[in-house]
């Protein structure tokens, strides 16, 4: 039986990566997630499982190392923070366009540009609506605790390999830097078998495996895009994840993910002490977004406050979900400021209940 240890979210990701049987981590340090590569370096994964740990010369190099490793059928991952993830977008699009699995971790900081090193959720659009070029989607998981930072590594890899699609863990500086108790799964061995699509060298009994995102024939390229879209549709049908807290009798609803969802839980307790029946809906997959599950609640609701550390990005998906049937408003802080629980209650009163 594994025991609880106290760890930062970033460290939990690193330990979970070794335990998940990851073949390779490629990355470049950036605050507020440098503890990932720091922990890995100290943990000597090459001695524990033979896992490769490589500090690349840049984020652009790191993502292309992932592309190569994933093409060979390996379990590969990287982590970075907002500006670094922006640098990786071309590679991410190529990986999605080549239908390859990999795990990306974004510990978001305030932007735009170099912005700040403090926590933010301003990369929601980038993560869920593309980011790179072309019609593609990442599966996006939003952890709200250090335990989920650990758990979503193996979940992320499972989904990535199941659908041959890149998966992103969208976290933020607060969860990356905070410590909580965490319990790890036992060590998984690194896989000795390669998937049948991997480019591991042609054998006489099969055709060449080709990994590319290029097809200059528009008809074939359209067919490929249709195949991608069919895959995304299946993911939307099967992989939506969310958590509902005190929603049964709720007349009002907070919708929030990650750090914001934790703060909203406190706001919910405070508002309920004043007799306001508010619940919390926490999307765990940001893509696929739980549109139907929010829509199903519209009958009981008088209003929804979407709370994000951004100018209002997820709120657009909440509005799409309820199709105008319920009043939806946004409350958020930007630039690395974290909203306080009472600030959120105040905004629920002003923007939703009173407004």
């Amino acid at each position: 039986m594994e025991e609880f240890v106290l760890m930062k979210g970033n460290e939990a990701i690193a330990e979970a990566a070794i335990r998940a049987g990851t073949d390779g981590y490629f990355g470049y340090p950036i605050t507020p997630q440098s503890e990932v590569i720091e922990y890995l370096a100290a943990a000597k994964p090459h001695e524990r499982t033979g896992m490769v740990l490589l500090q690349a010369e840049s984020e652009v190099a790191a993502i292309n190392m992932l592309y190569g490793g994933a093409g060979a059928g390996k379990k590969v991952m990287t982590s970075s923070s907002s500006p670094g993830i922006s640098l990786m977008q071309e590679g991410i699009s190529y990986i999605a366009g080549s239908e390859l699995p990999c795990l990306l971790v974004n510990v978001v900081r305030g932007g735009p540009g170099l912005g700040t090193i403090q926590p933010s959720q301003c990369d929601y659009f980038q993560s869920t609506k593309g980011g790179g070029h072309g019609d593609y989607n990442l599966i996006v998981l939003a952890p709200a605790s250090v335990q989920e930072m650990a758990d979503f590594v193996s979940l992320g890899f499972d989904l990535a390999f199941k659908y041959r699609n890149p998966v992103m863990i969208l976290s933020d500086g607060a969860i990356g830097q905070m410590m909580e108790k965490v319990k790890f799964k036992p060590q998984q061995p690194r896989s000795k078998k390669s998937p049948d699509w991997a480019t591991t060298g042609k054998t006489p009994d099969r055709e060449r495996n080709i990994i590319t995102s290029l097809d200059l024939d528009p008809a074939r390229q359209e067919r490929f895009n249709e195949k991608l879209q069919a895959k995304y549709k299946e993911i939307c049908k099967k992989e939506v994840r969310y958590e509902k807290i005190k929603c049964d009798d709720a007349e009002y609803l907070f919708v929030a993910y990650g750090t914001s969802s934790r703060i909203c839980q406190k706001s919910m307790q405070m508002a309920r002490e004043e007799g306001i029946k508010v619940g919390l809906f926490r999307p765990i997959t940001l893509w696929p977004f739980p549109y139907n599950e929010i829509r199903e609640m519209t009958g009981q609701l008088k209003g929804i406050l979407s709370v994000e550390m951004s100018a209002g990005q997820m709120v657009e998906d909440v509005r799409l979900a309820v199709e105008g049937k319920v009043k939806v408003n946004h409350y958020g802080r930007m630039g690395g400021i974290i909203p306080t629980p009472d600030e959120i209650v105040e905004n629920l009163k002003q923007k939703i209940i009173g407004g």
């Binding site: 609880f4 106290l6 909580e180 108790k181 934790r262 839980q265 306080t340 629980p341």
Partner: protein
Amino acid sequence: MTEEIIIAGFGGQGVLSMGKILCYSGVMEEKEVSWMPSYGPEMRGGTANVTVILSDERISSPIINSFDTAIILNQQSMDKFEPAVKPGGLLIYDGNGITRHPERNDINIYRIDAAEEATKMGSTKTFNMIVLGGYLKVKKLFKLESVIKGLKKSLPERYHHMIPVNEKAIHRGLEIIKEVATVS
């Protein structure tokens, strides 16, 4: 039981590690814990603080703006966090370098001159453990043995020879903390 604590002082005083030991003590007694540091381009001599929450239940927000207890170790932190103590809550401070003593009359105030004591004990690094001892005297949250276990968990093996001196510092803290004002 839920205890929401802010520990605030200078970088290098051991603010963050004191919070970590408190959390590990909680883990030893199967509490839920969270440790949220102020992070930034920080350095020795700059301000540092950490929010620690210990609870029997799942912890909601690790980020809060009012506290059951504030442990205040410099003047800047006094100015910032004295107003953030909940009415009826607890403020513990080290008098060293304090130019404006706490003024509220709706909270319990204790003083522990840990910096001075650490110098007397010949080990300034145990400063934070003296403060921790003082806090545990006022709020009897954990068994002392859980705290010692927490200390062991929190320190890397190579520092385990330091445990006896830290244990001594915790005991010293239990002895020297003084009540300044309490509310019923």
